[in-house]
Symmetry: C2
Subunit: 711 residues, 2 copies
């Protein structure tokens, strides 16, 4: 777990000074003191304004230094040009933390960045933790603090067990307003702004130990440190004492979105593949929109986790029951089988037209009592892991009474009971009752289905076997020598034979090969390796060997080899006369029966080496069926990488073919992870193809290349 300086001082200061409090209404300088006072801040509040005598009935201080008592935290609203001065004063005063609301820093360009750097230098000198600049503020609804140090309109949010971290202040404010209308409460709300000091990583660590927080929502435009984010989130999402789900939106998924994001925050977002990799590795639930985010947040914050994926649906209408069934099955849940015992128990209590199979249809004229009978049965059934209750308002339907039944049976239950009362007018009171009694309610059944699925996935994630980073015995020195040689020669491209040297040093299963500088060596090496052999041109200048006639397969004897040499040299000289030729690479001709897979690495400027895995061939390119992970990866990570491609079933033995040696691919991926983690010079790397044989028969690196950074 990475170690950070603590940031509690931003959430529970005993005293706050607002620097730049204002007398004018509808200004941030007025909204923040108002929010702090109306929110019921339990600490000591000071307002600083050089001109005003008092604001909102509170006396004003001319300067921060003029405040008689200690000040734990300052909230800074003054013009960006004088923030540095305020920080210096704060340092002198012994202030521990600062929320800098003020905009006009890094997000506006070079000049702003210089200002921000200056502020940060002072903060570091005095060890002041900074939230922002350019943020909406921080809210802590804990009764002991009741701190609304933000200019979010609408005042203090309701208390709840959800923490919301947002890189967009405006979106944060909108979400607080939305949540208020939906009876959703928060434990903490943090607007991070420019993340000059505190990033999502420290906030997440803080929230892991926060007893008020059960669920964490995150809106980010870019992550500050991907590897640390993975480490922290893995801990939080699979903490054996108390794991907490993290639900994240990373906006700027598309190139156009990323462009909009970069013009907005002044920072370049990594590619979306990196983010998919990071979220997959960290156990974070990535969502695409706010609807999804709140659907899942509701379930996680209000319902216990299910033990498995078997769902029972209770409904008073067939149609929505069918739609819920579809949604459950599509998202990977299973309909629980209702046992004969339970059916026999239910039969006399429900009308003869009721359907006792799952979905259980209590029929349109059901009053609350029928719902109670059916819900009790499935809530007590060990073959049911979660329950979705659907209600459509019909003439005789008892919406509110049914809601009460749901609260009674679901509130303290050991399994999730989610509900969907479809409607708006007749269902309003009942829905309010459900929401205000802490139940997860959805407008339409699909919301309940997909939320239950995410809960099941989260439980599975928590139960996964834990593996460590495997450390292979390798010859890093030998690998480095190859790379340093190329570097010394000013070359960024390491052709096959050099790449093979590096691979061998790290124990990759490279095929038998030998670099042969001349015709005779080629023939004798071929004889030693054993026919048939493959001949490939070896040149630091030729990247696409096939295109220059630089590959000859299936050479059967010495004559073939000699002849191939002659033809190849002539052809290459013709096509690329300036290419430096090292000779040829003579390789064993691999036996048939293998499958081609591709391994690759691309070092992301921000997050480091991004590993890729996929099957070889055109179709896989067309279907973009590849998977990514940020290195280093653990043993389970390698396994998951392989399993997560759609064409994985081809490796498992499709249509009677033997299963491929997936274990050996996994081993190669782990070695690759170690290689690119060890050697930062590697900018890009391809193994294409890695030939995989049936189980127990291993795999072989048949071709590859490396690109290095010169500095």
């Amino acid at each position: 777990m990475p170690c950070y300086r603590p940031i509690e001082c931003l959430f529970n200061p005993k005293s706050i000074a607002v620097i730049g409090a204002s007398t004018r209404e509808h200004t941030v300088g007025r909204d923040i003191p108002e929010n702090l006072i109306n929110g019921g801040y339990t600490g000591k509040l000071y307002l600083v304004n050089p001109k005003a005598e008092s604001i909102l009935g509170q006396p004003c201080y001319k300067t921060l230094s003029a405040i008689p008592g200690e000040v734990d935290m300052i909230v800074v609203i003054v013009n960006s040009a004088i923030v540095a001065k305020v920080m210096e004063e704060a340092g002198q005063k012994g202030v521990k933390s600062a929320i800098i609301i003020t905009a006009g820093f890094k997000e506006v360009g070079a000049e702003g960045k210089a200002l921000q750097d200056e502020v940060m230098a002072i903060a570091e000198k005095y060890d002041i933790r900074i939230m922002g600049p350019n943020c909406l503020g921080v809210i802590n609804t804990d009764k002991a603090h009741m701190m609304n140090a933000s200019f979010a309109p609408g005042g203090m949010p309701e208390k709840g067990n959800i923490a919301f971290i947002s890189q967009s202040g405006a979106l944060g404010a909108a979400i607080l307003d939305y949540a208020k209308g939906q009876n959703i409460g928060f434990s903490k709300f943090v607007s991070m702004g420019n993340k000059a000091d505190v990033t999502e990583n420290e906030i997440l660590m803080y929230l892991q130990d926060d007893p008020e927080t059960d669920v964490i929502l995150l809106y980010v435009e870019q992550l500050s440190d991907g590897q640390k984010f993975i480490d922290i989130c893995r801990e939080i999402t699979s903490d054996p004492k108390k794991s907490k789900p993290i639900i994240a939106i990373k906006s700027g998924r598309t190139a156009q979105g990323a462009k909009a994001a970069s013009s907005h925050t002044g920072s370049l977002a990594g590619s979306d593949e990196v983010y998919n990799a990071i979220f997959a590795q960290s156990g974070v639930i990535r969502v695409d929109n706010m609807d999804e985010m709140f659907d899942y947040a509701l379930a996680f914050s209000r319902a216990p986790l299910p033990k498995g994926n078997r769902v029972a649906i209770v409904t008073n209408a067939g149609g929505p029951g069918i739609m819920a069934t579809d949604a459950c099955i599509v998202s990977g849940l299973q309909l629980a089988t209702i046992s004969d015992e339970i059916k026999n128990d239910l039969r006399p209590k429900l009308p003869p037209t009721a359907s006792l199979a799952n979905p259980i249809d209590v029929i349109g004229d059901a009053l609350a009592d029928r719902y109670e009978v059916a819900l009790k049965a499935v809530m007590n059934d060990d073959n049911v892991d979660g329950v979705i209750c659907i209600l459509t308002p019909q003439s005789t339907t008892q919406e509110l009474e049914t809601a009460k039944v749901i609260v009674d049976l679901g509130r303290n239950a050991k399994k999730p009971l989610l509900s969907s009362f479809i409607g708006m007018v007749k269902t309003a009171e009942a829905v309010r009752y459900l929401e205000s009694h802490g139940m997860a309610h959805y407008r339409f059944p699909e919301g309940a289905s997909r939320s239950l699925t995410k809960m099941v996935d989260f439980v599975k994630w928590g139960e996964r076997p834990r593996t460590e980073f495997k450390k292979f015995q390798v010859d890093k020195k030998a690998a480095m020598e190859v790379i340093m040689k190329a570097k010394a020669e000013g070359r960024t491209y390491l052709p096959e034979v050099e790449a093979f040297e590096v691979f061998k040093a790290y124990g990759f299963p490279v095929i038998k090969y030998s670099l042969c500088p001349d015709r005779e060596t080629a023939i004798s090496v071929a004889d030693r390796i054993g026919f048939p052999v493959v001949m490939k041109i070896a040149s630091p200048d030729i990247v696409h060997k096939v295109d220059v006639g630089g590959v000859k397969l299936n050479l059967q004897n010495k004559e073939d080899v000699g002849q191939a040499w002659d033809v190849m040299m002539e052809k290459v000289k013709e096509v690329q006369p300036d290419a430096k030729i090292w000779g040829v690479n003579i390789q064993e001709m691999l036996p048939k029966g293998g499958k081609e897979v591709i391994l690759g690495v691309n070092r992301d400027a921000q997050f480091g080496p991004l590993m890729m895995f996929g099957l070889g061939g055109t179709y896989v390119e067309v279907f973009k069926d590849v998977t990514f992970r940020l290195a280093p990866i653990r043993e389970l990570g390698a396994k998951r990488m392989i399993e997560s491609i759609k064409s994985y079933k081809l490796l498992r033995g499709y249509r009677g073919e033997p299963a491929s040696d997936v274990e050996s691919i996994s081993d190669t991926l782990l070695r690759l992870s170690q290689l690119v983690t060890d050697i930062e010079e590697i900018a890009e790397l391809d193994i294409n193809p890695l030939i995989v044989y049936p189980e127990g028969k291993g795999c072989r690196v048949a071709d590859g290349r490396i690109l290095i950074k010169l500095k």
Copy 2:
């Protein structure tokens, strides 16, 4: 266009008699008269109850016959056992239509089905149109009629331009309640129940000409007649005078959902592929859930159609702008380029920190005037086809004033202006204003993005070139002879050589081949066709030829052919000694450079021949990259079939390969469509593979088989 008896009499009767009106509250017999009276039904209403003197202040008649005046329509609520009697009475009385609310018919089993048949026979005798039985009723909000002949709770829906057809009464009731809460109005509401007489097809035809209806929503568990549905919906969705979008939910997508549906409605739903095909062919927008349905319905019913796919986004917050951009791009829209002219015009009117690129960010402190400036600019810009306006409620935001700006600029505009005010409390009044002024508003920007996409798709659908069913000159008689011969022999399986005969009769490009009953013929035929050749076993009993050693490729000369014959006969006798052997099929060995595709047909019990197209090979199986259409298909349909597979790019010439002769695949698909439409005996058919050569070089049927129905 199919021809139906008119059903107006179900929507605008001049007089209605409710048979089974009741004095008891909270009964259907009381709810329906109440809904008719309170809804303001403009015609003459009669209540029939043999015991009551009056109900709801209206006098009661003992029987239908006792009513003095004419009765256009009856609403039947009495017990299922006496519905037939009522119908007979209605026939005598000259009633034109009946809504049968009563349940207990086909949906409860054989006995109920008999009752339903009896009722239908009477209805046909007297030419009475029936809605139901087992339905919620019919609503017509047209001022001239104001007919709420349903027991939906909540009374008359608001008037609007959306028609809703539902196979589930309960869902219909729930949706009416939901819509009421969302300020969504309806033109017509129809609960179809068992569809004993009137189905979605007649209702759709009626709605096509209904001036009150602009958008049609459909919830179905199964369609009554797929081919007619396609014909009708194609007309409605691409009517040059006034096309109307149809948005449909077909529940029971999964096997489990379909099972739930069949236990619910007593009818077997077709496979989901058939439905995907039907919806694709008919121009119907298929959605998976109610959220989507209402998102799209809002846009279509409230905004004009866009001319193209270029969107402008105006926002007061970066984050949601990025999210909207992502959602637009992912769903196939394009961000409009804001011209320098417009930027120059906007610059002095917006603060320097505002972003003038698309999304246009008017910044968090924007009042309504800034929105007005930006929205006016993009609404007037010819490079913009549609606009999404996003608002987050911040301290100074003028929610209501901004809503007014949107209504002013959007209400009578020629391009869609969709909005998303993110929030719930601060935004409530503004959202109500938008909704009640007929604007399409969404909780989150993604709803607006995806709705705009569907509008663009709908416009494209309407603009597609129209093609007809191509009628090839074929030899149907020859094809039938082959099939009748197999039929006469009691065989359902037509092996390759017979399938080829059928294909040839329909002008398919079958490869050169000849059935050779003995070794010598095989050799001489091979010599005539030209070496190399392929030899395949010809047997009505062998389905998987490769598995019994029944395929030999690349036979180079006469000796090869003779030897292959010997080996094959020995092997086949060994593996499948009882197989009747016709000899072998000698075929030309096709040149390389072709791509394998697969064509197939499976006759759906309910909807007829379902055609399939996909690329050959394992990957395509793994990725399930195939497409379906119900035969017959038009020329454009064949083209769309080919283009709609993901791997289509492989046929267009991937990575420098020549493009395949797609035209010739299309031709083969059209011939196949004609074949399976002409000959109903064909139950299943495979062409696997069809080898396609580069453009202009055609394609060849290399293998195939047919399964026929014996009766």
